[in-house]
Each structure stands twice: as structure tokens, then as C-alpha cells.
């Protein structure tokens, strides 16, 4: 038995592949860049330590939170969530057809479909890479101050986020069911909606709920540029050094985001375990 389990050590594979000279130089350069980035980012332990008392002062001046304007703040918080919900829903609806066009292998190979694929990918990349705050500034110019601008900004950002992940989810599904429906004479459109979309549905649901969580966080910040919601209340409180009110707003945002995350997790597990159609 012992003989069977011995192995000539000279034939053992190495644990790690030894990098070539070029790779080694690249690793060193990468490490140097990371260190340099910390310097460029103004990382300072001394500033961090000296900032401690200021932070403690802020915390002491912001406690206890002020409950004076709670009804108005609750209304603003509700508006923030409504912006997030409406924007996310619009974004999800718009991103589905765009994702179909941007998914490889769903449309018949042709020059036109290639052009449509590339254009859809570029559009999704544009929506995703431009930050939501920038979209909010653009929509404030377009439709004026208020929650509608924020809703549009969230919708566009959601298209960028969901469009990419929806497309990738559809590219990754098992090809067998779609092949079976093609073999049965189904059209490409029917095949996508009967075989590809249901198979990608768990990923769609997960992505959509993440998009809602992300939008809830974003909608707070969008208020800072006048796009509605509770963000503007936070900015005004900070500008007027009303830290007790600011703390109230921060805690309300914390509770809202936490609730959305918890509900998202619950909904995800419920829907994914759900019944068949």
C-alpha cells in the first residue's frame, strides 16, 4: 500500500509558475503605481489622527438628533424612495429590450445585427460610465429642479447597470432550451422570450433588486444637485452647521437603505424559490 502511494518528487509540478522577466517587471511597476496612488490620493496617517478630535466634536454636537422637523423630513425621505423606485422600474423596463439587442448570439448573424449589437453596447456603456450625479445635472437643466430630474437620472443609470448585466445573463444561459424551441420551428422572438428570458430570470431579479438598492443610495446624493429628495435637506443642515438635524437625516437614510437591502434580500429568496408558471 505504501509503495502505491509514493511518488517521484522530481516529477511533482511546481506550486507556482515562475514569472518571466517581463512579467516580473510588470508586477513591480504595478506595485510601484499602487504605492504612488496612495501618495497621489493624499493619504496621511497624521491627518487621520489629527482629524479625530474634529470628528468627535461633530458627533458630540450632533447628539441627540433633532426631531423637530421629522414630518417634513419623512416626506422628503419618502420622495427619495419614490424617485428610486420609479427610476429603477423605468430603467429595468427600458434595459430589457436594449439588453436583448446587446447580447451576443440572440440575433441572426448579419452585418445589421452586428451594427445593432455594437450600438446597443455603446449606449449601455455611455449610460453606465457617466456618473448618475452628472446625469442629474443634465436633467436638472432639461426638466428643471425637483424629483423628476432625479428620477430620470436614476432611470438612465439603471439602464446602464441592468442593460449590461441582463445582456451578460442572457449570453450565459444554457443554449439547449433555445435550440429545442428553434428545432420545433419557433421564431427567434418566441425563443428569446420562452427559453432565454426564463432561464436568465434569477439573474434579472438579483440585478434588479441590486439596482433598487443602488438607486436608493444614489437618490440621496442626487438631492445635493437639486434633483429632489432628502439630499438637499442634508446639504442645508450641514451648510448651516445644524448637526443635530444632519444626524437625524443621516440616521433616516441609514434606516431607509437598510430596510431596502433587507427587503431586497427577502424578496430575492422568496421570488427565486417561487412557484412555476
Amino acid at each position: 500500500m505504501a509503495d502505491l502511494l509514493t511518488f517521484n518528487r522530481s516529477r511533482l509540478p511546481e506550486r507556482f509558475e515562475r514569472p518571466g522577466a517581463l512579467h516580473f517587471v510588470a508586477y513591480v511597476a504595478l506595485l510601484a503605481f499602487v504605492v504612488w496612488s496612495f501618495q497621489g490620493a493624499g493619504w496621511s496617517f497624521s491627518a487621520l489622527v489629527s482629524g479625530g478630535p474634529a470628528l468627535a466634536d461633530f458627533l458630540s454636537r450632533s447628539w441627540p438628533p433633532s426631531l423637530e422637523r421629522l414630518p417634513q423630513l419623512s416626506k422628503a425621505l419618502l420622495e427619495t424612495f419614490q424617485m428610486a423606485l420609479a427610476g429603477t422600474l423605468i430603467g429595468i423596463v427600458l434595459s430589457l429590450p436594449l439588453a436583448v439587442l446587446a447580447a451576443k448570439g440572440l440575433t441572426r448573424p448579419s452585418l445589421l445585427s452586428r451594427a445593432v449589437y455594437t450600438s446597443s453596447r455603446l449606449l449601455i456603456a455611455l449610460f453606465r460610465t457617466v456618473p448618475d450625479l452628472v446625469w442629474a445635472l443634465v436633467f436638472v437643466i432639461a426638466v428643471g429642479l425637483g424629483p423628476f430630474a432625479g428620477t430620470l437620472a436614476i432611470a438612465v443609470d439603471t439602464v446602464g447597470f441592468c442593460g449590461r448585466f441582463f445582456a451578460e445573463a442572457m449570453e450565459d444561459v444554457e443554449k439547449g432550451p433555445a435550440e429545442a424551441l428553434t428545432a420545433a420551428g419557433a421564431s427567434r422572438f418566441d425563443t428569446i422570450f420562452c427559453a432565454v428570458v426564463p432561464a436568465a430570470m434569477p439573474s434579472f431579479i438579483t440585478t434588479s433588486l441590486f439596482a433598487l438598492e443602488k438607486a436608493t443610495r444614489s437618490s440621496v446624493v442626487l438631492g445635493l444637485v437639486g434633483a429632489g429628495g432628502i439630499g438637499i435637506e442634508l446639504k442645508v443642515a450641514m451648510d448651516f452647521f445644524d448637526y443635530q438635524l444632519a444626524m437625524t437625516i443621516i440616521l433616516m437614510i441609514f434606516v431607509l437603505v437598510l430596510c431596502v437591502e433587507r427587503l431586497g434580500t427577502l424578496a430575492r429568496s422568496r421570488i427565486l424559490e417561487g412557484s412555476s408558471q
Binding site: 439547449g176 429545442a180 420545433a184 419557433a186 421564431s187 418566441d190 422570450f193 426564463p198 412555476s276 408558471q277
Partner: protein
């Protein structure tokens, strides 16, 4: 095709048009000179030719990589062949446009080794999908939206394979044997003139495999459906077919009636 099950859907799926009567009424599938390669170095089919007669059961055998699955897929143009012609029910589909291709495919029930059911939706919805080739659109997407006549026919198909009581069970919660039966019910939903089955029992245990093959035999005998199936099991190939084709390195090397063959004869075509 005389069974009530396949007649009941007249309102949903029209009867086979007269135009489908082929030039050769006794031959459902005729494949000539099929060639296919994947990339420069992997040539899979080298001029494969064979035919399948009406109401005939034909087994296609051959070792892994011999080209059986590729030949079946090329015959329905699920994979585009590089050369050769395919006559399906007398129609030349070699250069057919998508619309014609879909119409002809709708009459062939394709059963895959891995069932290829849509997961997360019910067995009933999967069976209803079998009608998409004849009548597309949202009402064929799910049992929730389907017309009553369509649901009735789908239930009859499920009943035919003994799974009516599992209609609302999710496809990904069925056993391997049940999944394959649902796949057969989906094929029956097409009211097929022919069933093409690619290693239909390869992923099943022997008992479930035998049940599925028995079901195929019943369908060919009682419904008059033509059957072309691939198998690695030579005993099964002999028992359930009228004729055996053997394919080796992309060429058909045997085409004989099953009655004159033994398992040893077929065993030579492996390895």
C-alpha cells in the same frame, strides 16, 4: 396520426398542408452528401447520405465524435452544413428561407439527450412551447396565457406520457426520466410526422431508458410517427428500430435492416 390526442387540436394547429406531400411520398427524410467541419482541422461529416422512410424507425449508431449528432442537426439545419442537400417531407430545405424552415421544422419533434427543457417554468408550459412553430406569439409563451384548447391539448400530451399529474411542477424539479417524458410530450404537441431523438436515453438509468424507448415504439406503431434516433446501446438500437445506420469518422458505413443484424455486427463499428 389517427389518435384523438393528435386530432383534438385542429382548432389550434392546422392539419398538415397539402403542399407538404413530398415528391417521394414514402420517404420522410433524404439526406445527400452532407459535409460539415468545425474550424480548419475538425472535419466531422464527409458526404453523409441516408434516407428515412415514412413510419420507419431508424437507429443511427457510432462512437463518440463519429458525427451522429452533427448529422441530425445538419438535417434540420440547426447547424448549417457546408455541402449537401436535405429533403424533409419532400421539401428541399437546403436553401430554404427561415419561414419555410420553421414550417417544416414544426413537423419534426426533436428530443435531445439532455431534455433541453426550459428550467423554472412548469412542465405544462414546456409542453405548450411545442406549439410555437405552428402558432407563435405571447399566448404560446406560458400556460398562464394559453388558450383553453391549447392547454387541453398540452394536458393530453402530458397524459400520453403519464405525467398529467405533474403538469404544474417546475421542469428543473423533475427527475431525468420525467424530464425526458416532458420533452417527448413537447414533441407530441407539435403533432409531428417524425421524431428525431439524439441519444434520448443516454442520461437515464436503464429502467427509465427502457420506458422512454417503449414510449417511442408505441408512438411509431400507434400514431404512425417516423422515428430517427441515435444510440450507443446496440441492443437497444436493434430492438427498437427497423433499420440501422452506422456512421464512422463522418461517413455512413452501414445501412441494413435490423432483422438481419446482430449486436456483434454493430459492435464492430465502435472503437
Amino acid at each position: 396520426m389517427a389518435q384523438p390526442l393528435l386530432q383534438s387540436a385542429g382548432a389550434v394547429a392546422p392539419a398538415v398542408p397539402a403542399a407538404h406531400a413530398g415528391t417521394n411520398p414514402l420517404c420522410d427524410l433524404k439526406v445527400e452528401g452532407l459535409c460539415k467541419s468545425f474550424g480548419k482541422d475538425r472535419s466531422v461529416l464527409h458526404g453523409v447520405s441516408f434516407s428515412v422512410g415514412r413510419e420507419e424507425a431508424v437507429a443511427l449508431i457510432g462512437s463518440n465524435g463519429a458525427g451522429k449528432s452533427t448529422a441530425l442537426r445538419c438535417a434540420l439545419r440547426l447547424i448549417e452544413p457546408e455541402a449537401g442537400s436535405v429533403l424533409l417531407f419532400g421539401e428541399d430545405i437546403s436553401s430554404a428561407r427561415q419561414r419555410q424552415l420553421r414550417r417544416v421544422r414544426a413537423e419534426v419533434g426533436f428530443v435531445f439527450q439532455k431534455h433541453n427543457l426550459v428550467p423554472r417554468v412548469s412542465a405544462l408550459t414546456n409542453v405548450i412551447h411545442g406549439n410555437l412553430g405552428r402558432a407563435g406569439g405571447m399566448r404560446g409563451w406560458s400556460q398562464l396565457l394559453a388558450a383553453t384548447a391549447l392547454r387541453d391539448r398540452a394536458m393530453a400530451c402530458l397524459d400520453r406520457v403519464g405525467l398529467a399529474d405533474q403538469a404544474l411542477k417546475r421542469a428543473d424539479q423533475l427527475s431525468g426520466g420525467q424530464s425526458q417524458r416532458v420533452a417527448i410530450a413537447r414533441a407530441l404537441m407539435q403533432q409531428p410526422r417524425m421524431i428525431v431523438a439524439d441519444e434520448p436515453v443516454a442520461s437515464l438509468d436503464p429502467v427509465a431508458g427502457q420506458e422512454v424507448m417503449d414510449l417511442f415504439r408505441q408512438l411509431t406503431r400507434e400514431e404512425g410517427i417516423t422515428l430517427l434516433f441515435t444510440s450507443h446501446n446496440v441492443q437497444q438500437a436493434l430492438a427498437y428500430s427497423d433499420r440501422v445506420l452506422a456512421i464512422r469518422q463522418g461517413e455512413v458505413v452501414l445501412d441494413e435492416n435490423s432483422s438481419g443484424l446482430s449486436a456483434a455486427d454493430l459492435g464492430k463499428h465502435y472503437g
